[in-house]
Every structure is written in C-alpha cells, then in structure tokens.
C-alpha cells in the first residue's frame, strides 16, 4: 500500500476568522486507503520544518480522474501558518489516509458531537450513514460557528452551542448530549471529536445513559504511521497506545481520562 501522495490544493476558503478549509486533489488516496470517517492526513508544511502536521479529514470522495479530500484547520503555529498561506493550485505533499477513524455502519444511527476545530471531522461522519444523524456542535462564540449549513443538509437534527451563549445553546456540548439522550437513547453510538476535557465529559454522559462512546484523540505526532511511538495515549489498563496507528479514534471506556 502506497500512502504518500503529491497532491494539489483545488480550493481554499475561510469558514470564520481562523478556520481554513482546503479541498485537495489526492490521486487515488481515498480509493486505496479510506477505512472510516475520522481518519487523518499527515501534511508536509514547507521545507524548513522536520515534522509533518496531522490534520483530520473533514470529508472525502472517490472521484475521476482524482479523489478529493477536504481538510479544515486553524493556524496554531509555524506549520499550519505555512499551510494556510498556500494558494489554490499549490502542490502539497500529503501522507494518508492514516489511522482508523470511527468504525461506523451504513445502517447505524449516531449522535455526533464536535467541539471547535473538532467539528469538521464530524461532517464526514454525518455524511456517511444512510440513517440521518444528530449533530451537537460546540463553538467558543458566534464568530467561530462553521459548517452549520452543511451539517443541516445531511443531519436529522443539528444543535449548536456556544460557550458564551452568543449563538444556540449557552454552555458546553455535554449538557446538550445529556438533554438529547434523556429524550432518546436509540443511538448506536456517540461519536465525539474536540478538546480532551470535552471528550471526557461527553464520555461520562454517554456512559451514564449506557450508549457506547467513541472519541477521536489528539497528540503531538512524529512519523504518523506507528513507527516512532511518540503520540502516546494512556489507556485504562495501564498500557500506552498510539494515536496515529491505534487511533485516533478510541473506545471512551478504554481511555484513562485521569492521565
């Protein structure tokens, strides 16, 4: 399996004042390495930086002559700054698709939970199943809200929340997850991506309602393929798994949330 590709930026748009959306032309990458929604790509950000940057896939599609893949990211440091400054048409060195993603079933019914820059990967999850999903999306404030129309186009129900109450529900997403599960627990799983404290709280709520919960974890990464072992995730059984190869998606029950 070849997992490195010379790709091209087809389209670049800003989703708010900080989130950059890029559609990439990726050859046969989706055809050859798509497993589930929630995988990531490892992007080389210029010649001066030694490490690639792992970025979650927002959505992807098999196509002809080339598959396409959309990433959404924020400028966090030198690497993502370099990337956000690349114009449409610019070539990119992308390794992917990496990791395992959310093991979703076409016939499954899912409660999707995204927080901040963890929202975009949930769009791919929303587009995947035949049954329409419910999405709970958290943002810091109204200015940070993104992708809402696209979620509404494919979901049964979309519940936005903001930390400051400037849009949607005033508060954190775990409160909305609780509200939703109080009315309806007929979900195959809660799938979540976002900051670790959010994931921990969502996992707690899901467990209280007896609904399986899968979370997408983030960690500083090296090789991206499971060889260098730097992206360790502490598990409940005392072992350390690796976000790039064993994850990024883990069963919330297996994660050591106190680490």
């Amino acid at each position: 399996m070849k997992v490195e590709h010379k790709c091209k930026i087809l389209e670049k748009t800003m989703l708010n004042d900080s989130a950059v959306s890029m559609v990439l032309e990726v050859g046969d990458m989706v055809k050859t390495s798509f497993k589930h929604p929630g995988q990531f790509v490892h992007v080389k950000c210029g010649d001066g930086l030694l490490l690639r940057r792992p970025i979650s896939v927002c959505s992807c599609a098999v196509g002809s002559p080339s598959d396409t893949l959309r990433i959404v990211f924020e400028e966090r440091g030198e690497g993502t700054k370099w990337l956000s400054n690349r114009p449409a048409g610019h070539p990119l060195d992308v390794m992917g698709l990496l990791g395992n993603g959310f093991p979703m079933k076409k016939e499954g019914r899912y409660l999707l939970v995204g927080g901040g820059i963890g929202v975009p990967p949930m769009l791919g999850c929303a587009q995947f199943p035949d049954q329409k999903a419910t999405a709970i999306l958290g943002f810091r404030s109204k200015e940070k809200v993104m992708l809402l129309d696209e979620f509404e186009a494919v979901c049964e129900k979309v519940l936005p929340a903001t930390d400051d109450g400037s849009f949607g529900y005033h508060g954190f997403v775990d409160a909305l997850v609780k509200q939703e599960l109080e009315q309806d627990t007929h979900y195959d799983a809660v799938l979540a991506c976002g900051p670790k404290p959010m994931l921990r709280n969502v996992a707690k709520v899901a467990e209280a309602f007896g609904v399986p919960c899968l979370v997408s974890m983030e960690e500083r990464m090296g090789c991206g393929v499971g060889a260098c072992l730097v992206c360790a995730c502490d598990m409940n059984d005392g072992s350390r798994k690796h976000v790039c190869k064993d994850g990024p998606v883990f069963d919330a029950k297996e994660v050591d949330w106190n680490a």
């Binding site: 030694l50 490490l51 500083r220 090789c223």
Partner: protein, 306 residues
C-alpha cells in the same frame, strides 16, 4: 544508478549497501514496509528492546526544534521475547541485516537479552548504553567508562558469535574515553551518536513542551556534532563505526563515512520523508561516483584534515 560497488562490511557483517535505519525511528519495520521493500536497506536497527515490556513515558513525547526534534519516548517496547516471537520472523522475510538494540537496568539484563537474541539468530546486537530518556541504567552506563566496559564484557560473553556493537552517547566531555573503554572490553563495533539532551519551553505556559521536561535531540541540527565525534572516535580506536546523527541526504552520509564510519544510519529524516534511506543510498553512490571511486567503502576514513 552509477556503477559503484555499494557493499560494506561492519564487523564481519556484510551489507549490500551502507544505509541502515536508526533504532527507535523505524519500529520493527512493518510501518515503513508499506512505503518501500525493506530489502532495499543495508540493515535495520530495530526499536530498542528491554527484558520486559515497557510502556514508556507520558505524552507529549516530541517537540520540534530548529532543524531538529526532541523526543522522550522512554524505550516503549514489547520486550525481547515478544520481539523474537512476533517481529523477528517478519523481518526475516527480507534480505536485510537485522540489528537488535537492547537496554538493560543491570549488566545481567544485558547478558540475558544477548543470549536470547543470539539464540534467535539476529545479525548483530547494538548495546544501548546511552538512552537519555530512562532513569535506571541507560545514560549512566554510557557516561562512565568502567560501567560501559562492564556492560560490554557481559554482552560479549553472552552473544556467542553475534557481533556486539555499542551505541555511544554524545552527552560526555570526551567520547574517546568511553570508546576506548568499550573497545578494550571487546566490542566488535561502535555506533554513534545517540541523541543530545535538550529542552524546549512553551513561552506562554512556561511549561516544557515534553512531559519529561527534557529529551533527546536529533535531526539535521546534530549532524556536525556526529561528524566531529565519529572523526574523534575513528582516530582513537580501531573498531568499525556505524555513523548516525542528522543524516537526511547523500552528502551527510558521505561526511560521516569520510570521518571514519563504515556505514551510516538514517533516523529522524524518515518522519518528513519515508523514502529518505533510499535517497541517501542513491546520493551516496552518486557522490562516490563523482569522486571517481569504484566502491563506497573507499570513502571510510578518507577525510584529509588540516
């Protein structure tokens, strides 16, 4: 490919080319085997093993630095028995020399591991006396000549006919002292350099980026240190040297060989480009050809100092 003989010999172990991948950057080969045929390599230094399974240090374990990275993995590995049972048979499918890398808490542990690995039939044992990321043993053995010599003797006594290569730490005042001690104790080869201890601090949080506060520096930033140390060691002892530290292109490998290395290892550069070992091999051959050499082995020790 230019018509240059790529074959080299490292302490009696013949490799089809001088490019090895460095321990800890290549796992047990399975992952990078997705990118290229592992038989293209001269050798593989497998991920560092300990007698028992280790989970390593908490994350974050990596930080990017100017032209380098810091890591603090802490020897996470499945243990020597699991390597022999599950990983060695995989590596044996390829036409490539397998170099097992071992770390012990005591000299006895080094001995036990050498015996197991020699029985299992690895091509060489790399004795790590220089890991900066573990508390017991590790670096302590690599910074004190008498301890380095003791570990070397025990390893040699238990490795049978398998050559023993000792991996040296750059975190010492005079690397030739350790090199001489290890050579006198019977080592068959030396590998250098391991990582240099370093630190990065997040200026907004005042926290070190690594959870262990400090870690080992590798990448292009350390290449000149590696070249200097290989040169010093080559002048001090007669043992063959596997040179490593910041190699990302053919020219880097040639520098290490001119300084005295018989073969070179590629590590950190893999993370940016998985094909680096192959481009290093081809670049090395190209330079040897341009220099009018018929074999890359003729590069070894060729430096003409002022």
């Amino acid at each position: 490919m230019p018509n240059v003989d790529l074959q080299v010999n490292l302490a009696g172990m013949t490799m089809k080319n001088p490019v090895v991948v460095a321990s800890g950057t290549f796992g047990f080969g399975r992952e990078y085997g997705q990118f290229f045929d592992l038989s293209e390599l001269g050798g593989i230094c497998a991920k560092g093993l300990t007698l028992h399974r280790r989970e390593g240090n908490p994350a974050p374990r990596i930080a990017e630095t100017p032209m380098g990275i810091l890591n603090s993995v802490g020897l996470q590995n499945p243990g020597v028995d699991a390597f022999i049972a599950s990983e060695l048979p995989f590596l044996r499918q390829y036409d490539v020399k397998v170099i097992a890398n071992i770390s012990g808490n005591t000299p006895e542990e080094y001995g036990i591991m050498c015996e197991k690995l020699a029985d299992a039939g690895v091509d060489m044992i790399e004795v790590n006396i220089s890991c900066p990321n573990v508390k017991a043993g590790g670096l302590a053995y690599g910074t004190r000549p008498e301890l380095a010599a003791e570990v070397t003797k025990v390893a040699k006594a238990h490795a049978g006919s398998v050559p023993v290569m000792v991996k040296l730490s750059p975190n010492v005042t005079d690397i030739t002292e350790i090199a001489k001690a290890v050579a006198d104790a019977g080592a068959d080869a030396l590998s250098l350099i391991n990582t240099l201890r370093g630190m990065r601090i997040d200026v907004m949080s005042n926290r070190p980026v690594l959870k262990m506060n400090t870690g080992g520096l590798s990448g292009p930033a350390v290449l000149p240190v590696a070249v200097r140390m290989v040169w010093e060691v080559a002048n001090a002892v007669k043992l063959p040297i596997l040179g490593m530290g910041g190699v990302s292109k053919g020219e880097d490998a040639v520098q290490l060989m001119l300084a005295g290395a018989s073969a070179v290892a590629v590590g950190t550069a893999l993370f940016a480009d998985p094909y680096t070992p192959l481009t290093v091999r081809d670049g090395l051959a190209e330079i040897a050809h341009r220099k009018g050499l018929s074999a890359v082995s003729q590069l070894t020790g060729g430096v003409n100092p002022w």
